[in-house]
């Protein structure tokens, strides 16, 4: 929560301090923890979905985006990384069976 944002008063929060909005942690951007950034090489990727399976932060999104590789292989979907939440742990880089994910240093 940003510091300048006004915090709710005691009578504005739900009873018991419960959180009524499911899954609102998505508003927290854990992407700034990252030192190395995984980048998918769409041409090498065989769409086995192992990165999507193993990712602890569910940052891999399966998008309906056709892709034709340089060898002429056609895929009906692609994988995209949500860099707002990716913590850069590198599990996907390690587990990719065809080394299609590059691990590059973040430079700002």
């Amino acid at each position: 929560m940003a510091a300048e944002e006004k915090l709710p008063a005691w009578n504005e929060i739900p009873p018991g301090g419960i959180i009524i909005e499911p899954g609102n942690a998505e508003e927290r951007y854990t992407g700034d923890w990252r030192v190395f950034r995984p980048v998918i090489n769409q041409d090498k990727c065989i769409r086995c979905l192992l990165c999507w399976v193993y990712c602890p932060d569910s940052v891999f999104h399966i998008v309906d985006e056709e892709y034709v590789t340089s060898k002429g292989r056609k895929y009906s979907f692609s994988l995209k990384i949500d860099y707002d939440h990716c913590k850069g742990c590198g599990i996907c880089v390690e587990e990719c069976p065809v080394n299609a994910i590059d691990f590059v240093e973040e430079v700002k």
Partner: protein, 323 residues
Amino acid sequence: MSSQAQKKKKRYFKLINQIPRQELFSPGHGLCAGCTAGTIVRHLLKAAGPNTIVVNATGCVEVSTTTYPYTSWRVPWLHLAFENAAAAASGVETAIKVLQRKGVIDPNKKINIVVLGGDGGTYDIGFQALSGMLERGHNVMYVLYDNEAYMNTGIQRSGSTPLFAWTTTTPAGKVWRGERRPKKPIAEIVAAHRVPYVATTNPAYPLDMLNKFKRGLIVEGPTFVHVLQPCPTGWRFDPRYGIKIARLATETGMWVNWELDHGEFDVTVPVPRRKHVKHYLRMQGRFKHLTEEEIEEIQKWVDQEVERINKMVGRQVIGPVEE
């Protein structure tokens, strides 16, 4: 295992394509980078679906997924202390049963109740509540994610810490060589309660893990799934090797993926040729003080365990050491 039982054995998910796409565990949680607990919880909720109530004992997952005012959970979620998660889940299950009888909730609606506890909250502190829940026979699945120490409070030993592992309370020096006792066989202790379903699994085998979660939810009565969860912070390894270490645990025989379904014992991930434990131990900083003799001692302990498992199955599911 009889051929009839083999036929009865169900595989709910056979391909990675069949894994549900719905994410009920949102990103943005505060688990360490590379913490495989995220993988485990994601798949748990994929197997369970939206009609689920999660009862969470104190632990890493609890503190890091619900930092006020944010929550990662898209299902009803209840936070409890270390010692009473199973007891509270019993109450939740009974309350739902009563509400269904009175017609407040549709009696045909299947509501899954899942307890998620860490090894501290299960092996040590929450054990009496778990034992009581199993004894009373509540229709609850207990999922234990086991990172082999109290990682949340700063790597203190728990009943789950393996032999010779370094933790802050079992230091490695001249007198103490890390933890002095082998791991407590919690899943077998649970199986001794004669519950219908007990399984051990590990996130490196996602389909095995999902099938066990699903089976645990479908079986009536108390069920227990024990999941190994490599912890980059406490086990002292590079975050990227989390899944690799989990896989090595099974490949070396340190961890056996088995299930006990209504008295039928089987190993679901057979290892025809097993690797030497040094491959598993040398990847982790918590074992870096080990001498060759100590590694051999662990290997001897693993050999005994493997022999016992093979005897239980009745055939050689886990083979001899390679090289």
